[in-house]
Subunit: 78 residues, 2 copies
Amino acid sequence: MKTTAIFYHAGCPVCIEAESSLTQYLDQGKVELEIIHLGETPARIVDAENAGVKSVPALVLNGTPLHINFGANISDLK
Amino acid sequence: MKTTAIFYHAGCPVCIEAESSLTQYLDQGKVELEIIHLGETPARIVDAENAGVKSVPALVLNGTPLHINFGANISDLK
């Protein structure tokens, strides 16, 4: 069974750089990757918060929130 | 040719969590991964700084510094 990886972003330049840098190097054989733009799908903000995400871009990997550089606080997306 | 990925850390709990979470999911077919403990090999701090690393843990992936969560500032390791 693959591990769930959810990349949360908000379309910001830092987000896009992190996404394009990192996600292509995740092992597609091990990871089921979902990419969520919280600006376009704000209904998912609560999921991100429940996973411990404080800012974007962030990758929630097997339930562990990894904040990657800093684009915006989650609270600023509401 | 594989992409170079260098994971810089300092042995801190945040560093270890990030390393154990992320590095196992990098595609070993695409990425040549090196893990550097800057506390044990301070001679490499300058390399990290030159790559744009401001804090650890950080992954320098194909030359792009990705700061993952926050453990310690590079300046605090000197």
